[in-house]
């Protein structure tokens, strides 16, 4: 898979999406809107995130300006969160799964930004860092510009953020990387996330 392009609403803060992937998920941003040229140069009205050595995740405005863009499908299924945690709606929209080198620090950044999410329709539910470590994953739904979080959600797109390894050091069962650990692999994982796209 060379690229996954996600349509965003017109006039979305694509630079902010780039900052979300760079500052929160630790990805490299190849190209993104420059805040100063956003309205003047349509060629730059996109955000391209590196999510693998030969793979990108791209955000562009929907080509049909009349089309409503929505990647979430939230439904209230009366799920009760554990005491002290917020209630969440089930999302039946597509989700993007990706592996990160350091799940704990990524979760910390996402939690600080207030974008962590639990999808009740899945059995694995990580409300805490301990649960995230045990399940090798956590989710976030809202893409928020970390530099302008007061502006709110840019786009709702569910992410399943996975760890390459389990707490015992073994490879996570669904990780597509087959050899671990090797110095080469650790190097690659450090600098690139691996994206597994799921629409389920």
């Amino acid at each position: 898979m060379r690229d996954l392009t996600i349509y965003a609403p017109r006039d979305s803060n694509l630079a902010g999406i780039g900052r979300f992937y760079r500052d929160i998920l630790g990805a490299h941003v190849l190209m993104s809107d420059n805040d100063n040229t956003k309205d003047n140069n349509k060629d730059h009205h996109q955000c391209i995130v590196t999510v693998g050595p030969k793979q990108t995740l791209t955000f562009v405005p929907h080509p049909d300006s009349q089309q409503t863009v929505r990647h979430d499908d939230l439904r209230d299924e009366q799920f009760e969160s554990p005491a002290g945690f917020p209630a969440h709606l089930s999302n039946y929209g597509p989700h993007v799964s990706m592996y990160v080198a350091d799940l704990a620090s990524t979760l910390e950044r996402a939690d600080k930004l207030g974008v962590t999410y639990v999808n009740p329709r899945f059995k694995r539910r990580a409300f805490t860092l301990g649960e995230a470590r045990a399940q090798c994953m956590f989710r976030c739904l809202d893409i928020v510009d970390p530099a302008h979080s007061e502006q709110g959600v840019i786009l709702k797109l569910e992410h399943e953020v996975r760890s390459v390894v389990q707490t015992n050091g073994s490879l996570y069962k669904s990780c597509p990387l087959m050899r671990y650990p090797t110095l080469l692999l650790q190097h690659l994982v450090k600098y690139y996330t691996v994206t597994v796209v799921s629409i389920c």
């Binding site: 349509y7 030969k54 929505r70 039946y92 087959m178 690659l188 994206t195 799921s198 629409i199």
Partner: protein, 140 residues
């Protein structure tokens, strides 16, 4: 339409990969034949076109690179008849976007039976992700 959906999942795995490549995925097919899980190198994507109530359709485009898109194109053509009545479509375009009768060196614009959009492009030999691949038979 339900017949098309069920057949479409199996056909789409065949189109994309020639064969399912993860044993786990094969087990899924036996339990519930509708989810699609093409696995391409170290990358996989799964979708459940069955949906609740409608098939999930991504608002975006998935771009897949193949060493030889002629082979993929031929499989699309074979599948087209079986997928008639669905949204399935495959258009060959030149790199500049114009329609072309020949797909060599060009791009295939594909709509799956449920409306998801794909771009099939020719990939360079070194484009294959060298980190590893999923277990299972090598398809393409």
């Amino acid at each position: 339409m339900p017949r098309v959906v069920t057949i479409g999942c199996e056909l789409f795995n065949w189109i994309f990969c020639s064969a399912p490549r993860i044993p786990a995925r094969q087990r899924i097919y036996k339990l519930a034949p509708r989810p699609c899980g093409p696995t391409l190198g170290p990358i996989s994507f799964t979708y459940v076109p069955q949906g609740k109530p409608d098939a999930q359709v991504l608002q975006g485009i998935v771009t897949l690179a193949y060493p030889n898109i002629d082979t993929v194109y031929s499989r699309f053509n074979v599948a087209a008849a079986a997928l008639r009545g669905s949204q399935f479509a495959c258009t060959s375009k030149a790199d500049n976007g114009s329609s072309s009768s020949s797909n060599s060196g060009g791009v295939l614009a594909v709509t799956d039976p449920w409306g998801n959009q794909f771009r099939i492009v020719s990939g360079a030999a070194d484009e294959r992700d060298a980190r590893d691949r999923q277990p299972g038979d090598i398809s393409e």
